[in-house]
């Protein structure tokens, strides 16, 4: 399944990774708008009551989705329908441990396979607790996508990389999702350090909001992740969100895809 992910990062240009929270607004229409706008990878957030790594924007999206009654089965349904509509766009689930392991890792990994999910990012399962989910995903060919952060030092990096797949997600700020931005120089250095240690593509996220920022990061990384800025459009525009999502994604994609490596 991870072939879809691998090919998204092998188009000879940086990839745009777009995040939305499942069940917040019309998810099917919103995801289609991201694809139409030029997103290379879709990250579908699984809402959780206690999103400890998220800032206000994504917290509120989680609350809106859960208030509408979104269940795990609904999210898997959204993923499966997305896969039926878009056979070659990689889809990654992102979320917190408890909803993923509630019925056991084998159950969750099996659901991912059935729904055509290519990878899973679990915020609060570090490599030290890999047994909680990692083996079940790997044995079914679903990529466990790990996070590296500014606090991940050289001593620790091999542990983070061991058993990880798909791509490496570099969280560019020590903090929560949302508005803080990292300095371009620090991102460049960090990505260079990560690239020296792994063959996995490195995508950079947290605090990336505008085409200018995305384009600058794309000059030094294999991919750029945008989340909160898109989630804000869903909050602001409701059922009219798709056209706005498509427009922002298109301008982000243009900036990312056209970026030349330094």
């Amino acid at each position: 399944m991870s072939e879809r992910l691998a090919s998204a990062f092998a188009k000879g240009r940086p990839a745009l990774v777009c995040f939305l929270t499942a069940g917040d607004g019309d998810t099917a229409a919103n995801l289609d708008a991201l694809v139409a706008g030029g997103a290379d990878v879709i990250e579908l957030g699984m809402p959780f009551t206690d999103p400890m790594a998220d800032g206000g924007t994504i917290q509120n999206a989680n609350i809106r989705s859960l208030a509408k009654g979104t269940r795990t089965a609904d999210i898997m349904g959204m993923a499966a329908q997305f896969r039926a509509r878009h056979s070659d766009v990689p889809l990654v689930l992102m979320g917190y441990a408890n909803p993923m392991v509630r019925r056991g890792p084998e159950w969750f990994a099996g659901q991912c396979v059935k729904a055509g999910v290519d990878g899973v990012i679990c915020v609060d399962i570090p490599p030290e607790e890999d047994d909680a989910l990692g083996p079940a995903l790997r044995s079914r060919g679903v990529a466990p996508i790990r996070l590296a952060t500014p606090t991940t030092d050289g001593r620790r990096l091999p542990r983070v990389l061991e058993g990880s797949g798909g791509f490496l997600y570099y969280v560019s700020v020590a903090g929560i999702t949302g508005k803080q931005q990292a300095a371009q120089a620090s991102i460049k250095d960090a990505v260079a350090r990560l690239k020296a240690a792994t063959d996995l593509p490195v995508a950079v996220g947290f605090g990336v909001r505008t085409p200018e920022q995305a384009g600058a990061i794309a000059r030094v990384a294999d991919g750029v992740v945008v989340g909160s800025a898109l989630v804000e459009l869903v909050a602001e525009h409701g059922e009219d969100a798709p056209e706005h999502l498509r427009a922002l994604t298109a301008s982000l994609a243009q900036a990312v895809h056209a970026a030349r490596k330094d």
Binding site: A53, L66, Y96, V101, D124, P126, A132, T149, T151
Partner: protein, 404 residues
């Protein structure tokens, strides 16, 4: 048949697991810090100067050892086992929470951290944290659910007097769990200079072990005091459980004494039949939250459900992972008492002993009330009176329909 371990006091393993529970379920940003903290804690444990400073502060600042008290009139009223109390409500700041705060702030200073954050429910941990921060001159931010800010006004004011910034948290049900989420968010954004003083024996390893160790002073003293006073160990230990730090503090030094039974008392709120309770062990199931695997109140999709208790300090949908392990191993028995039972026990202790307990240990007293009458008069129950009730008089007055 259950496997009986050689010792119940040898947990956790090197990865912070208490059997299937515990661990380090945190975001990658926090992992290096959590590993650092563990290294620093091991170094502190091996450093006699650290223990010396901890003991000195407990004696001269906190006022330890806390008394061991025979509750003669309560015993008479219940008509069964002798009831004894470990008087941790007489500590400076009025609860057991300060024991742990002293230990953690000494560690924070050792690690060169210059800013302290904490979460609080009833406000006791917030007050204890603000107190040690004032004592050591470190700035301090306390996250507190907006609901709790309203129901615990006296403690909010105390924290402010002590120089802390109190941040009301409005997400979720605006109680302890949400305050903890906000604490984690602050921590992840300020790892370079900030130490998170977690208030209970929960969170990522090494917190559950560390908090238990700092609180074990309660049981260590009680053990010596019992031997000195009556020449034997108690038959039954009783303590209330929110996250479970006062209970572990009392229980842990006795875990390998097979004749000492133990009873942990959760908050049954409006009753275990409905969803309005905070009994994670009796009414929950294993899952992952706030850095550890433990029993949680959750739905079938793993979404965390809101607990309820009259006591803000017990109103938390999780529990320390060591309790999860102790429950499964059968070493400790767990029960729950309702808001109404706790309120009745609160009043009983006021009138029989002249002690106004906090609503948290009022749950333990209610359980003692149920057990004592069926036990012989020469048997001994030792309950932890882990906090005083001054902070709760407004809540109690409201429940009793009294205007003050």
């Amino acid at each position: 048949m259950r496997d009986i371990p050689n010792s119940f006091r040898a947990q956790p393993d090197e990865n912070g697991h208490f059997g299937a529970y515990g661990g380090r379920y945190v975001a990658e940003t926090l992992m290096p810090l959590v590993l650092d903290l563990e290294r620093e804690y091991r170094a502190a444990q091996a450093d006699p100067a650290f223990r010396e400073q901890f003991d000195d502060l407990l004696e001269h600042y906190v006022g330890r050892p806390s008394p061991l008290y025979f509750a003669e009139r309560l015993t008479e009223a219940l008509g069964g086992a002798q009831v004894w109390f470990k008087r941790d409500e007489l500590n400076h700041t009025g609860a057991h929470k300060i024991n742990n705060c002293i230990g953690q702030i000494l560690l924070a200073i050792r690690m060169g951290k210059t800013r302290i954050i904490a979460e609080t429910g009833a406000g006791q941990h917030g007050v204890a944290t603000a107190t040690v921060c004032a004592r050591f001159g470190l700035p301090c931010t306390i996250y507190m659910g907006a609901t709790d800010v309203v129901r615990q006004q006296p403690n909010v004011f105390r924290m402010k007097l002590l120089g802390a910034e109190v941040v009301p948290v409005t997400s979720g049900a605006a109680t302890l769990k949400d305050a903890m989420n906000e604490g984690m968010r602050d921590w992840v954004a300020n790892v370079h200079d900030t130490f998170y003083i977690i208030g209970t024996a929960a969170g990522p390893h090494p917190y559950p072990e560390m908090v238990r160790d700092f609180q074990s002073i309660i049981g260590q003293e009680a053990r010596e005091q019992m031997q000195a006073r009556v020449g034997r160990l108690p038959d039954l230990l009783v303590a209330c459980i929110g996250g479970g730090s006062n209970a572990l503090g009392l229980f842990h030094p006795f875990l390998d004494d097979p004749d000492v039974k133990m009873l942990g008392v959760e908050a049954a709120g409006h009753g275990l039949d409905g969803s309005e309770h905070a009994a994670s062990l009796l009414g929950g199931s294993p899952g992952v939250l706030h850095g550890n695997r433990t029993y949680l109140l959750q739905d079938e999709d793993g979404q965390i459900t809101e607990g309820h208790s009259i006591s803000a300090g017990l109103d938390y949908p999780g529990i320390g992972p060591e309790h999860a392990w102790l429950k499964d191993s059968g070493r400790v028995e767990y029960t729950a008492v309702t808001d109404d039972e706790a309120l009745e026990a609160f009043q009983l202790l006021c009138r029989t002993e002249g002690i106004i307990p906090a609503l948290e240990p009022s749950h333990a007293i209610a359980a003692v009330q149920k057990r004592a009458k069926d036990m012989p008069t020469d048997s001994i129950i030792l309950a932890n009176l882990c906090g005083r009730g001054d902070k709760d008089i407004f809540t109690v007055a409201e429940k009793l329909g009294v205007e003050i």
